[in-house]
Amino acid sequence: MLMSTLVILRFTGIFAAYTGITVLLPEIMFRRILKGRRLSEQFLMSYTFGNFYIINIVFALQLLHISNFLTLTAVTVLMSILIGLKVNRISLRRKLAEGKKIFCRLSDGSLGIRSAVGKLVRWIADVCRCLAEIFYKYIVKKPIQNMFILLILGAMFWIYGRQIILAYGYRASDIPVHLSWINQMSRGKIFSKGVYPFGFHCMIYYLHTVFRIDTYVILCEFFFAQAIYLHAVLLAMLKLLCKTKYLPYIGVFTYIVGNFWAGQTYSRFYSTLPQEYGMIFVIPSVYFLIRFFQIHKENLKDRETRRILQCFAMAFSLTLAIHFYGTMIAGLCCIGIAMGFCFRFVKKEYFCRIMVTGILSVALAVLPMAIAFAGGTPLQGSLGWGMSVINGTQNNTSDTANTSSDNKVKVTGEDGKTVEIDVSKLPSAKKDETTVVVEQKKPSLGDRIRTVTDKIKVISDKIKDMPNRLSKVVRTMSIRIRNIVIPVDWQKMGTAVMAAYAGLLSLGLVFCAFRKTEYGAALMSVGFCMLILTVLLCAGPFGLPTLMDAARCSIYYAYLLPVAGVVLADGILCFMTIPQIFRNSKNVLSLGISVIILIVLLQKDLVKNPEFSSGYVTNGAITCLTNIIRDNEDETWTIVSANDETQMGLDHGWHYETITFLRQLEKIDENTKILIPTKNIYFFIEKIPLDYSVSYAGSGQSISKKGASQILPNVGGIRMYQGENRWIVMSRMYYWVQAFMKKYPNEMKVYYEDDQFICYRIPQNMYHQYNFAIDYGYNQVETEEQEAEQ
């Protein structure tokens, strides 16, 4: 079977499983509540609940240390049945009684097999009819929209989907870490390396445990499912916010295919990472909050309000349960929406509800982590860093970082000049301390009056300077947007984006004036959200605390930018069609605009052409691993490699680090023994070593004797496998294999070989294992005489 066929089948399985539990299952469970809603809203609600539901089941079972295939399946099924019965107002007792009755009738013969089969057939026919109706309603009746959906799906496959087939490995260096954490969950250890938002890990773990898919496979392929849902929620929200039919589609399409987006804004979508998974739930948070504020005061006590708030709480809690950054963006967007709907936000009825919901959602997300923390599990490094950002201690850390070892502190004066002060010479300095305590004299009354006058003067100057400063701020924002998010040749791009935000605010006000308050406030909310995000993007230049680095912020920014664009275009079209005579031409115009944009994108060659490769694992390595798992019984093989097969094959076999192997070989004598106690041993060697995120002057060169003759890297962590070090390690490993093959030509065989990668296999007698400690020409071998001399 072709490996590409296998990955397609595997992805189909993963996508079907994930969709089944996060969309279809909630859709069935909540069908009474969801009935009558727009499909997009149904999707947002069920998807949010589905993820929240599964993640929290895993959290609960993991914290109780009873998480396994049986418990996860049982809890999912039982809870789903109970919730479904409750929500759909079906009496369990009645259903059981009905079942019992049918069974009794079948057993006593009053209901014949033919009749029972007939009933079953009728039921199946009803289900089929229902599905046919859905198909007719959503597919046949909406041909143009479905054409757009197909177009979007095609674009998704072209831009992201091809990665699955062309590069089987992952594209982010931190995936092995997440893989390790998920593997530990399989061994009953959640938060194995400290408390961390584990929502993403819970979902992957669930897919692995319940559907029996290897975790490494999910982590290599799930990114595409993530990307599909990331764009699906965007489309769903735009469909719900916009009054025109077709603009949302072209907005999402443009976002997917446009080559004008900066590379870093979408490059991470090729990796299965928590941040990108958490990003999916920013949009539902935003939508449900807008939806809440759109509810009239008199309807606030309705169940619908509660449901919307529950959905908001779940979506917001998911952002926090999955990744800290998603919460930051969602929180800032919430502020923007509150500003857009300020006339409602300030009202007690709205304010109290939203504050309570917000606190509850945070509590929901934090609860599992708090339980683990209370149980003595420390915070994971990056979460500790996140907390320090919130507490403001991050700056202190960086400040202390400025302190050099010779007790000199860099101080920046008002004039911008940096002066170094040796704090050890200060009178207040104590031995081995760098704390600077400057004692100040109490100012006199004259001095105080003078100071106040000066301050007033400064403030008045600032007010006078306000227009200048404002234009400077706008200019900075524009430049930043153009440089970081949309690096196009057109100089005015940033300004255009800023103008669009201004347009959104103005248009929102206009709609409010036309008594279309909800729509107008929504437009303003989007405008405010984007302005706040722009401030976050420009935090550095503005001298504000950098909560998020610009590159990372740009991912969210670019993701939300199409919302602003589409909503603005929708607003303009709606405004143009306010007169009665144009009202029906709204959709025609939106279709026209969409087609024009589509043609422009294709004609002007604005479609991006991403690279498909994995700088971390070769296709050959993944192919070999897949075959090794298939060919051998579990625990009967070992891979000696420089990759992350330790975690990738953890459930099936063993792994031996190449560097450990080579270091053991470095200095050997007659008594040195290197045994690997498994039936089969595989050696993974990259003929053209990967850079592993660190390139060097000779990047891309083949392994060689020159490489093998270099000193074996003596560095820690992953560095021995990066850049030139990897070349040396691979060269050494290759020549060891060649030397070993001279001794065992019929045993050591090539298992797989392509242009970049080669894998050797040696089966061994488990009772009498091979000693791999041999002289391969690049290690030091001590004879008995030499030892005696020493």
């Binding site: 072709l2 192919t623 065989k749 089966p763 007698n765």
Partner: protein, 609 residues
């Protein structure tokens, strides 16, 4: 009261049942051509055609590169064993007294050089051996005799791959033979605490303790007792047979006398298979079961038999032994050849009973067995009387069965040969004798008569017998298990009882031979035909990419192909059966057989893209 109608119905039913049960038996009995030996092949004087090394110039036979050099005493045990192996493996044997007397010719290098002991590898000889090894000659040290000499010769130790001589002599509790060298898989010959099992241990257990280093592959290790071996890792156990790999070449070493009898046959083929990327060699492919001195027809020693079994001799043979034998044979999937002994003592007045012969022949026919004639006797006035009296007996029985096989003790073979030209033994094309190293396992005894020695005694089976049996199976795909019934009819010891011997025989046969069921079960006449074909054949082979071309002079000859992980994809001109991993049984249905090996491919592959 039973009505007439019901009575009639019952009678009809009974008749139908009677008919159904009986007609098949009647039919089978009438169609049983029991007096025809269907295994028999026409006796031919084809011994003069047998392959000899001088034929190596023939174009159909493998060339001069397939010579084997033996360094040592060519008339010694090892020399004889190597010589027999060369005949079977169709290799030219060059014997030398020392390494220095062998003149190496780079153009015609031998495939293998076998040294009788390490003493032939001293000084410059070792240098010569190193040179030959580098050129691709497989070096075999047939027996490492003196551990002290080896310990003092560092260069030799390195050449042999010995890291350390731990002890000049150590006592083992058993040995472990790993899979790969001989067919039949891994086996442990450890001395059991069980008395019966303990008797099997006859291996050489006091051996030098060599610890081999990296680059070696071990095929047999010695096992230490629990106390001595407590802290010894498996890799440090005394090594008995191993290979040292040097620059793609191989140096084999054997500790002990394994190369001094027929055990050498399989070991040498195994060594070739391990050293080369693939090997293909001819075999006999025959699994025989010889029931010697059975059935008997004279009620001799009846007093003793009545005391032990409460039955006469013929009664025991027919009612107790025969059903049990059939059961064992059916379970083992082997074919019997029963060597009839009409009577043992020709001096007493007890004559063989008539009527039983037909029964046995019919039974044998149904079991696809063959009847042979045993030339053993207990007492006889004149040597010629045996054949004469037996002829009389068969004539009286009015059965024209043509005997194709005869059994005799090795010492009596020469005297019997003259009788095989005519008369009762006129059709005998093969002689069977008890196990002996004086005769080859299979050979031409005369131009028209072959000799098949018994390879194993089914009742007294020791560990060394098992290693030898595996070795002969590896080299020839041949076995000849003997069950001699004489001791049952003439018991000397308490253990000479049928129930004891049956238990031993069935457990041995069903345990030790089970891994060789892919070889064909034959009667001795069938085996005779295969042996003639095997001894006469000449073959050559070559490989191009993944296709091995085998050329043989004999259609219907058998071969074993041994590979290293390669599997047969397709075969033209023959058929194949996988015996075990990396070993295939090939039948040449044509003079040219093309064997295509599978391309090494993975189940999930990227490269097809």
């Amino acid at each position: 009261m039973v009505s007439k109608r019901k009575f009639f119905s019952i009678a009809i039913m009974m008749f139908v049942l009677f008919f159904l049960f009986q007609f098949s038996m009647v039919l089978r009995d009438s169609k049983n051509t029991y007096d025809i030996n269907s295994s028999l092949t026409e006796k031919k004087a084809d011994g003069e055609n047998q392959w000899t090394p001088s034929d190596s110039n023939s174009t159909t036979v493998i060339g001069a590169d397939s010579s084997v050099v033996f360094v040592g005493n060519e008339d010694g045990d090892m020399g004889t064993a190597v010589s027999r192996w060369c005949t079977y493996a169709k290799r030219k044997l060059i014997s030398c007294k020392s390494v220095s007397t062998y003149k190496a010719d780079d153009k015609n290098l031998p495939e293998m050089m076998i040294l009788e002991s390490e003493k032939y590898a001293d000084g410059d000889n070792l240098t010569t051996l190193e040179i030959l090894e580098k050129k691709g000659v497989i070096i075999v040290f047939g027996c490492l005799e003196n551990a002290k000499n080896i310990q003092n010769n560092k260069a030799l130790m390195k050449f042999l791959g010995i890291q350390k001589v731990v002890a000049e002599e150590t006592h083992l509790t058993g040995v472990k033979l790993f899979e790969g060298l001989l067919l039949g898989g891994e086996v442990t010959y450890n001395t059991s605490k069980d008395k019966e099992e303990k008797k099997r241990q006859d291996l050489e257990l006091d051996v030098p303790w060599y610890q081999v280093g990296s680059g070696t592959k071990t095929y047999m290790v010695g096992l230490l007792d629990e106390k001595t071996g407590k802290n010894v890792e498996n890799e440090d156990l005394p090594t008995i047979i191993w290979r040292n790999g040097i620059d793609y070449g191989s140096v084999f070493a054997v500790v002990g006398d394994y190369m001094k009898d027929s055990t050498a046959l399989g070991l040498l083929d195994g060594m070739r298979a391990e050293a080369l990327s693939y090997t293909i060699y001819p075999i006999v492919n025959a699994q025989n079961l010889s029931m010697v001195n059975f059935p008997v027809f004279a009620d001799e020693n009846n007093t003793e038999m009545l005391k032990l079994y409460s039955q006469s001799v013929t009664g025991i043979a027919r009612d107790i032994m025969w059903p049990a034998l059939i059961s064992v044979v059916e379970k083992s999937d082997m074919k019997m050849t029963c060597f009839i002994q009409p009577q043992a003592d020709y001096t007493d007045d007890i004559e063989p009973k008539s009527g039983n012969l037909e029964f046995y022949l019919k039974q044998m026919k149904e079991q696809s067995a063959e009847a042979g004639i045993s030339l053993e006797y207990q007492k006889l006035d004149k040597a010629e009387d045996k054949v004469t009296k037996d002829t009389e007996f068969f004539e009286n029985e009015k059965i024209n069965y043509r005997f194709g096989a005869a059994f005799a003790k090795e010492k009596d073979l020469k005297g019997i040969l003259k009788d095989t030209d005519s008369g009762l033994l006129g059709d005998v094309g093969t002689l069977v004798c008890d196990y002996t190293e004086n005769q080859p396992v299979v050979s031409y005894y005369s131009d028209s008569v072959t000799l098949q020695t018994v390879t194993s005694d089914g009742m007294n089976y020791a560990y060394s017998d098992d290693i030898r049996m595996r070795s002969i199976q590896t080299a020839l795909g041949y076995t000849n298990v003997m069950l001699d019934m004489y001791d049952i009819f003439w018991p000397q010891e308490k253990t000479d009882r049928w129930e004891v011997m049956q238990k031993r025989f069935s457990s041995n046969l069903l345990t030790y031979w089970k891994n060789f069921r892919d070889f064909d079960s034959t009667t001795l006449s069938e085996s005779n035909a295969r042996i003639r074909r095997f001894l006469n054949l000449a073959y050559s082979q070559s490989r191009e990419d993944n296709t091995i071309t085998l050329q043989t002079s004999e259609v219907g000859s058998w071969f074993i192909l041994r590979t290293h992980g390669e599997e047969i994809d397709e075969i033209d001109g023959g058929s194949q059966t996988e015996i075990e991993a990396d070993a295939y049984l090939i039948c040449a249905e044509d003079t040219t057989v093309k064997i295509r090996l599978k391309e090494q491919e993975l189940y999930y592959d990227t490269r097809k893209n």
